[in-house]
């Protein structure tokens, strides 16, 4: 398949893997964080760790939209969905995310009208088709998905659709990365930077990471060769004693980002003073709400919400996993009490969550498999 196969070529992967190994100083350990859950998914799905030398360790970052939603927000969304005249619409990833009292899937089974959509425009379509119902879109995600939410609100306003609103949970990637850089728990040598977010915000916002924290960051695509090449580029910078922002994903990411998309976000949304992130706690200026001009489409103003803060279950160590401090399997409940079928933490829900990726794709001993294969 064109535009896919060339980025999954095993021959090129082997060659690049050899170059990566050659760039590692013997005995030195290189710890890189892939910020984005999409990268985590690619790494596990293609078994990328088999191609990396022992010296290179990838830790998984906070860039999984579903993983960072706090339980209280899920409860609020279920509260909205439980109003008799409401149709709640959501991306499929959200369906299994546990709140304090069950997930969307449970609420749906108990009678709430919750429908999976692939785009906020589908939610708007449902609103047009059901004029006597109030249709709410559960908006989640980083700057990647915020433009489509914003464009949908603009279209709803232009068309005068009155029964459509957005429950806005959009978050920003830079404050999350900064929180990780300021966390004392973790020593990183560099970042595999998010690709889709950067297609919107561009590469400039990362410059402080290289400048102030002295860490290189390479914006990376989502195919396995993209990630290998990004690791190669990071090692190249480290070997030369440089720390810069580089763009491996130039086929998609313009250095300056997408001004139209940023303008749409700027028009429809405003910065929140602070927002709670699952496992990471409150981070100032880290999320968006609808602006006053679009209050008529803001579910937070239309519906009275419980707005209760629900503490994460004690056993859950999602926060440590999101910060890259713990490997998924180092969490106390990983794979026993917390599994994809009965998740306690959000990282076990989304296919982009580090725990789910490890459980579904990486739950085996590479050493043991190598031995078994050699026999």
């Amino acid at each position: 398949m064109r535009f896919v196969d060339e980025y999954r070529d095993a021959g090129r992967a082997r060659a690049l893997a050899a170059d990566i190994a050659a760039r590692c100083e013997p005995g030195r350990r290189y710890t890189f964080m892939e910020v984005c859950g999409g990268h985590t998914h690619t790494i596990y799905k293609h078994g990328l760790e088999d191609l990396l030398p022992r010296e290179v360790v990838l830790v998984h970052g906070p860039g999984c939209p579903v993983c960072v939603i706090p339980m209280g927000r899920v409860d609020d969304a279920i509260h909205i969905a439980s109003q008799p005249d409401v149709i709640m619409t959501s991306f499929g990833d959200m369906m299994r995310v546990p709140g304090g009292n069950g997930s969307f899937l449970d609420a749906k089974a108990a009678g709430a009208d919750i429908r999976m959509v692939y785009s906020p425009l589908d939610a708007l379509k449902i609103a047009r088709e059901n004029p006597d119902r109030r249709v709410v879109f559960m908006a989640i995600g980083f700057e990647t998905t915020a433009p489509s939410t914003a464009m949908t609100v603009l279209r709803a306003a232009a068309e005068g659709v009155r029964n459509f609103s957005v429950f806005c949970n959009h978050v920003l990637i830079i404050p999350a990365i900064k929180a990780i850089l300021d966390s004392p728990d973790l020593r990183l040598d560099g970042f595999v930077g998010p690709g889709h977010v950067s297609a919107v915000i561009g590469c400039r916002p990362y410059e402080f990471i290289a400048r102030d924290y002295g860490k290189p960051l390479v914006v990376a695509g989502f195919e396995p060769l993209d990630i290998l090449q990004s690791v190669h580029m990071l090692l190249g910078q480290l070997a030369a004693g440089r720390s810069e922002v580089a763009n491996q994903y130039a086929r998609v990411v313009p250095w300056e980002g997408n001004r139209t998309a940023m303008a749409a976000i700027g028009q429809v949304m405003r910065m929140r003073a602070h927002f709670e992130w699952r496992g990471l706690g409150f981070i100032p200026h880290s999320a968006m709400a609808l602006s006053d001009a679009y209050a008529a489409f803001d579910a937070e103003r239309i519906f009275e919400l419980p707005g209760l803060r629900v503490a994460d279950p004690k056993a859950c160590q999602c926060g440590e996993v999101l910060k890259g401090v713990l490997k998924p399997w180092e969490c106390k409940v990983f794979g026993t009490a917390c599994t994809p079928e009965t998740p306690i933490g959000t990282c076990m829900v989304s296919s982009e969550g580090a725990c789910a990726a490890y459980y579904n794709f990486g739950r085996f001993s590479r050493e043991r498999v190598r031995e078994a294969t050699l026999r």
Binding site: G47, P224, P340, R368
Partner: protein, 401 residues
């Protein structure tokens, strides 16, 4: 009915080395009682200890924790298996049901017979390559074929919604008649119920079937052993991809038709061509796709199945749709393909026989059976890495059949 059989059920001793854990208290958030790895243990050993602990947790008796049925219980994946084991097997427990194969093998007055049933709720009712009618006939015919039987007689039950067009029902009946004729079976009994508007979605069909076991075969997913080969009879994922596109939710168009077809002819050819015992297991890869079958083999036989991504036959249109939607073709349903586990010595012959049949032109060896690590399906990715292929959790695509 299919399910993860752990071997603890009637007449089936647990696989060697498997401690059966009766403790179901892990339901809530209770921590595993195993002590955490001691600090100072090397990282690799600690990871292995965690993996072992997870393996033990997965062998626990399945418990349904939900208070209500969710769509995940119909996915064919993990939730379905848990439901079957914890509710149905618990209630109906008997040695004929316990192996949870595609059908039951019975001896009636000395005659070896296979018996199976299936329900169809596919949406939409009509789709490229078929409709709910031929799907209902072929589905039951194929379950009998996977038992090694020659399908003989079918029943048909209809649950119809008030207001359903009679013309559509005629069309479904005609396609069932055509499918039955093509498969050489007769529909000899049936039932009809009508429910109020809104209490069903147009038309649901159930079929049951009996078949004759003419060969002295013993087929079971529990019979795979190290050295065996895993063969698939043709390109995978076409039925599921056709249904996804037929629903029109994605605005994607591609020339993909359902592969629904009766498989007893091609399975008979395979069973006849290989020496007795050469075929260990046959499974048609419906809900949950190839991945689910491979997991059933790995768990029931206590072996490791190693599949090669590059060897998997997938048509490029199906690959394309799956890439766009972020779905793995390994989990996408087929209705005219099956997986055969065969003696490794017979692998080439098996592929040759399958390819000689019109329904097996794309047959290929996709993997091998090893002893370690038991209960796991590993995939060697085309990229050169290794990963697990687990059972599906949740249901990305309800009502596929």
């Amino acid at each position: 009915m299919t399910a993860e059989t752990e071997g603890s059920l009637d007449g089936h001793p647990p696989p060697a080395g498997v401690a059966l854990d009766e403790d179901t208290s892990a339901a809530g958030v209770a921590l595993d009682e195993d002590a955490p790895p001691a600090p100072g243990t090397p990282l690799r050993d600690r990871e292995q200890q965690v993996l072992d602990r997870i393996a033990r947790a997965r062998r626990r008796r399945p418990v349904v924790r939900e208070e209500r049925i969710t769509l995940a219980h119909g996915s064919g994946g993990k939730a379905t298996q848990t439901l079957i084991q914890a509710v149905f097997l618990e209630a109906f427990r008997n040695p004929r049901l316990a192996p949870l194969e595609d059908g039951a093998t019975l001896t009636l007055d000395g005659a070896r017979t296979a018996f199976t049933t299936d329900a169809f709720v596919v949406s939409p009712l009509f789709f490229p390559g078929g409709d709910i009618g031929d799907l209902a006939v072929n589905g039951t015919v194929n379950d009998l074929a996977m038992c090694g039987a020659r399908p003989a007689y079918l029943s048909a039950g209809f649950i119809l919604e008030e207001g359903f067009p009679v013309a559509d029902l005629r069309r479904i009946a005609a396609s069932m008649a055509a499918a039955a004729a093509a498969a050489g079976v007769e529909i000899v009994t049936g039932d009809t119920k009508v429910v109020e508007r809104g209490k069903a979605d147009g038309c649901y069909v159930t079929t049951a079937g009996v078949g004759v076991l003419e060969r002295p075969v013993e087929l079971s997913v529990a019979r795979a052993r190290p050295g065996d080969a895993v063969v698939v009879s043709g390109p995978i994922g076409e039925h599921g991809a056709a249904i996804m596109l037929a629903r029109g939710d994605f605005g994607i168009e591609a020339p993909i038709a359902s592969d629904t077809a009766p498989l007893h002819g091609i399975t008979a050819a395979l069973l006849d061509a290989l020496p007795p015992g050469g075929v260990r297991a046959l499974r048609d890869a419906t809900r949950g796709g190839i991945a689910t079958i491979l997991n059933e083999v790995a768990v029931a036989s206590g072996v490791c199945v190693v599949a090669e991504e590059e060897a998997l036959p997938v048509r490029s249109e199906v690959t394309g749709v799956c890439e766009l939607l972020g779905i793995d073709p390994l989990y996408v349903a087929c209705e005219g393909r099956f997986v055969a586990v065969v003696d490794g010595e017979c692998a080439e012959r098996a592929v040759e026989v399958l390819r000689g049949h019109p329904l097996g032109a794309g047959a290929a060896v996709i993997g091998t059976v090893r002893d370690d690590p038991p209960g796991l399906v590993l995939l060697r990715t085309a990229f050169g890495g290794t990963r697990i292929v687990d059972l599906l959790v949740g249901d990305p695509l309800p009502r596929i059949c």
